[in-house]
């Protein structure tokens, strides 16, 4: 119990520390791939510190909701990131919230951020919020269907159980899992506002989604929102690693946390490099193609669940 609490606290701190580094790493790899030198991987930390030092500029009709959303959103995503086992499956909060609750926590963060986008009453905010909710309306069911396939296989929605089962090697190679993995990666790309759904580096009206919602934020509020976005990216990388590649993670008994940690760092580096490679080799799609992209993810994940019955006769 004490070890679980200790691991939980260590993990909460770890994700917080690592999240900006992952973003910095992706930016660096992307820059190198297009032939630039690129900023140092610790640049996101400097950006966040600078934002924290700056004053907050609020629109005149911003309400208390606008000012509290960064905290709510950051807390929800931080907690969600703390729920995904990264270096050990022995976590104190594991029985409190399963994978479904984790998805719902991310939904909470999105709900409040979309509301904040509408609070100042500018057209950019509304534009971002409405597009974000459209994307979420397809991404969330796709993700739940991924959970469905995995849960049918593992007979559990608890992340610790899933990681343990996947590590045990009892699964083997399965078409359903491949479909679920593709669907989850598509959802992760959409949810993290990456190319080809959204471009985190753009401020062009026609294409903005996430950036449009947070356009009115500044100073410490913006720092929290940026940090939350980084945490979310780390969370999805950790989630994919936890479900589909849990090797090296320390099980509840035996196993070393140090090995788990090193394995996690390696997985993150790999995931970041893969994302950077993917992003540099593809163009952004039109906003209304997103429906087809995510509809595809939803169908893939549903097919994955149905294939399970066909292939295994569960």
């Amino acid at each position: 119990m004490i070890a679980a609490v200790f691991h939980q606290i260590a993990q909460m701190a770890l994700v917080l520390v690592l999240a900006p580094l992952l973003t910095g790493w992706i930016r660096l790899v992307k820059a190198r791939l297009v032939g630039r030198r690129g900023p140092s991987p610790v640049q996101p930390y400097r950006d966040l510190m600078r934002l924290l030092r700056k004053e907050v500029v609020l629109a005149r009709n911003a309400s208390w909701l606008f000012r509290s959303v960064p905290y709510v959103m950051f807390t929800a995503i931080w907690l969600a990131a703390g729920l995904v086992p990264v270096f050990t499956t022995q976590l104190a909060l594991a029985p409190t919230a399963d994978l479904i609750a984790l998805i719902a926590l991310l939904g909470t963060a999105r709900f409040f951020l979309a509301l904040a986008g509408m609070d100042t009453g500018t057209s950019f905010g509304g534009l971002g919020s409405s597009r974000e909710m459209m994307i979420a309306a397809l991404a969330e069911p796709a993700m739940l269907m991924v959970v469905f396939s995995v849960a049918i296989l593992v007979r559990s929605t608890s992340l610790a159980e899933i990681a343990g089962f996947m590590m045990s090697g009892a699964v083997g190679l399965r078409v359903s899992l491949a479909l679920a993995l593709i669907a989850l990666v598509m959802v992760a790309i959409a949810e993290n506002a990456r190319i080809p759904i959204d471009n985190p580096a753009t401020h062009l009206e026609l294409t903005m989604v996430h950036e449009a919602m947070v356009l009115e934020y500044s100073g410490r509020h913006l720092a929290l929102i940026e940090a939350a976005a980084m945490l979310k990216l780390l969370l999805y990388a950790a989630l994919i690693a936890c479900v589909f590649a849990p090797w090296g993670m320390a099980p509840p008994t035996g196993g070393s946390a140090i090995v788990g940690l090193l394995a996690f760092l390696a997985k993150l580096a790999l995931a970041g490099a893969a994302l950077a490679l993917f992003e540099t080799s593809i163009a952004k799609m039109r906003v209304f193609r997103v429906g087809e992209f995510l509809g595809g993810a939803l169908l893939l994940s549903l097919l994955g669940a149905i294939f399970l019955y066909v292939s295994r006769g569960v």
Binding site: L52, R53, K54, E55, V56, V57, L58, A59, R60, N61, S63, L65, Y71, F74, T75, A76, W78, L79, P95, T96, A97, D98, A101, A104, L105, G107, F111, L115, M118, D119, T120, G121, T122, S123, G126, S129, S130, M133, A136, A137, L138, E140, P141, L144, M145, F148, A151, I152, S156, S158, E161, L215, E216, L224, V287, F288, G291, L302, A305, Y309
Partner: protein
């Protein structure tokens, strides 16, 4: 109570007396039901010397009735409280508002309670019709508004058709014996084809009252037409009485279920859930949006009922208990947050005089309490943890994940699709309520009325606070409630959701069949609170706390337009979703009229969409009925000889039928 209301309708204290009386009566009913459930008391039966001679009216309160009485009673208390404040606020504006409501409000509540207590088909149907007519009269109480008569007429037609279906269903249930007591029906439940027909008739009859697609068409018109506290009762509570009818007949009276009953329920429920929320996303009228969202939630409840039925049929009662608990928990949850949101709509209507989203905006500054409570309701209905809506969805997903335990292949695969439909409906509901809250309460005011709005009176605020608090409490501690209605679940599926041998502390939600998964809202809330405190402390100690107020970024324009026409409106917010889903489902089209350069006419955007239920079902049906009546018109102008011939032919036909059917 109604008599008092009629007698005293001109007096100023009439409202206070009636609403005080209903609040007290409903409070007593709810309290009694809660005590009966908690004490696991045996069913109470009562025979009144009324109704059909020598038979009387049978009343009986078992666990299931008590549970639904709790929902009705609680809804009645908050509706009375809110209604009292609402009508006092409206009495100044338009004088005739409260007169026609008072006599029928207690009748409506009494009708709903009697449906739940009825223990024979006759009493059940009379109470059902009583409830329908009372609510119909309440809808008509706003007859001065132009849309009300049409809504009321449609409601009357649908309610009569629904009752007719239920009448036939009970006829089949009672069978040849003609004994209409529920005990007798249980003992001689119909089998085979008769049972199948009964299931379909009950789905039509109760489904039309609950709002199952495609029988939902009256609901978005009639529910909003009534005064807001009555809308809350109709949407939050009366639909639950229809759910009660489904549970009573399908789980109790019909005996051993067949798997496809549950399959039919799940199919209807999935269509209802997804279509309902898409309808809600298309609506610009606050109360219509809420009524459409009721359709969605009824869909979710019916899916859970279908799952329970399927698992009951496959003799896995523990999973059936889980699904039924999810359904009943969602019944409570929906009655709470839908009442709350209708009260919010009523408060907004009181403060601004408008139900049109496009005339609201910025109310968070002018109605702070209402805005906060509306946020709780919107978050709860969007199934966000740690509020109550999420717990219901969580239980439902745990039941859905048990699909591999079923023997039928079509169901296994079908349930995967149902799961996708539930997830889609939940995600769209979040979009719908971001739209509702963001347009109505956030942003800048879109009309002068919204700009002048003020907070509503304390009675209305208390009426809203009570369900809002319960939304949080039940989200954090759902297990005591599930334990409370466990007797009802046990009576229906012969098992409870929890395993008593492996006793879990009551703050944990870990049903036996949830394949080892658990959820703890309390710990989640505590961790969220702790993390927030840490975060706020760190940020405020370390970061700059300077704040400067300025204008919002308007692409270089200095001051935003005074009427705030450039901000997103209700229909522009829905545009991406309309484009992705609406094009195929609703044939939704956006047409933009852009004048030539130099022309000073304003540009216009027209959104058109059609309801497939009208286009493919009700309009053809109406045409068919019209055609049939025109053809039957001939019968009015025959000679007496022809009539005599017809009557004789009919008599012969009946005799032949009797000779063939009865050996």
């Amino acid at each position: 109570m109604a008599g008092l209301a009629v007698a005293a309708r001109r007096k100023s204290w009439a409202g206070t007396a009636v609403y005080g009386g209903t609040a007290a009566a409903c409070g007593v009913i709810a309290l009694w039901a809660a005590v009966a459930l908690a004490g696991r008391s045996a069913p109470v039966a009562l025979t009144l010397p009324m109704g059909i001679p020598w038979i009387g009216a049978h009343l009986r309160a078992d666990g299931l009735s008590a549970f639904f009485l709790l929902v009705v009673g609680f809804g009645g208390v908050t509706a009375s409280l809110f209604g009292w404040g609402y009508e006092r606020a409206h009495a100044h504006g338009h004088a005739a508002a409260s007169g026609p409501v008072l006599p029928f409000f207690p009748l409506f509540l009494a009708g709903m309670s009697l449906v739940l207590l009825a223990d024979d088909a006759f009493t059940f149907l009379v109470s059902w019709e009583f409830m329908s007519l009372a609510s119909w009269l309440l809808v008509l109480s706003t007859h001065r508004e132009s849309e009300t008569p049409d809504a009321a007429r449609l409601y009357l037609v649908m309610a009569s058709a629904g009752t007719a279906c239920l009448l036939l269903a009970f006829g089949l249930l009672a069978g040849g014996l003609g004994d209409y007591r529920f005990d007798a029906i249980r003992a001689h439940a119909p089998q085979g084809g008769a049972a199948a027909l009964t299931v379909l008739l009950v789905m039509l009859g109760a489904g039309s009252k609950a709002g199952l697609v495609p029988l939902h068409v009256w609901l978005p018109l009639a529910h909003p037409a009534a005064p807001s506290h009555v809308s809350a009762l109709m949407s939050g509570v009366m639909t639950k009485v229809a759910v009660y009818a489904l549970v009573r007949v399908l789980f109790d009276l019909l005996g051993e279920p067949v798997w496809w009953w549950g399959g039919a329920l799940m199919a209807a429920g999935s269509a209802t859930a997804v279509m309902g929320v898409l309808y809600a996303l298309m609506q610009d009228d606050v109360k219509r949006l809420l009524a459409c969202s009721t359709i969605e939630n009824i869909g979710v409840i019916v899916i859970a009922l279908g799952l329970a039925l399927v698992f009951k049929a496959s003799h896995t009662p523990v999973i059936a208990a889980l699904a039924l608990s999810a359904a009943l928990l969602h019944v409570v949850n929906h009655s709470l947050f839908k009442s709350l949101l209708f009260y919010v709509a009523g408060a907004v209507l009181t403060a601004t005089g408008s139900r049109d989203l496009n005339r609201l905006g910025g109310l968070i500054h002018r109605m702070p309490t209402t805005a906060f409570l509306a946020l709780v309701g919107a978050a709860a209905i969007s199934a966000l943890p740690p509020l109550n809506g999420f717990v219901g969805e969580w239980l439902l997903f745990q039941a859905i994940l048990n699909a591999p335990a079923l023997p039928e292949w079509s169901l296994k695969i079908g349930i995967a699709v149902v799961g996708a439909a539930v997830a889609l409906a939940a995600a769209l509901a979040a979009a719908c309520f971001v739209r509702f809250y963001g347009i109505a309460f956030l942003g800048r005011p879109r009309s002068a009325e919204a700009e002048r709005a003020g907070e509503v009176g304390s009675a209305m605020r208390i009426g809203m606070v009570v369900p809002a608090v319960l939304c949080v409490v039940l989200g954090v501690l759902p297990t005591p409630l599930i334990r409370l209605f466990e007797p009802a679940v046990r009576a229906m599926v012969d098992a409870g959701p929890f395993d008593d041998r492996a006793y879990q502390p009551w703050i944990w939600l870990s049903p036996t069949s949830a394949i080892g998964n658990s959820y703890n809202g309390l710990v989640l809330l505590a961790v969220i609170a702790a993390l927030s405190v840490v975060l706020v402390l760190v940020i405020h100690r370390r970061a700059s706390d300077r704040v400067r107020w300025s204008t919002a970024w308007g692409c270089g324009h200095e001051e935003p337009d005074p009427l705030a026409v450039s901000q997103y409106s209700a229909s522009s917010f829905a545009q991406p979703i309309r484009r992705v889903f609406g094009g195929t489902v609703f044939a939704a089209r956006d047409r933009v009229e852009m004048p030539e350069p130099g022309d000073t006419r304003p540009a216009r955007l027209t959104v058109t969409w059609t309801d497939p239920a009208w286009a493919f079902l009700f309009t053809p049906l109406r045409r068919a009925v019209d055609w049939l009546t025109r053809q039957a018109d001939v019968l009015q102008f025959l000679t007496i000889r022809s009539y005599l011939t017809l009557m004789f032919a009919a008599l012969v036909l009946v005799l032949i039928l009797v000779a063939v059917v009865r050996p």
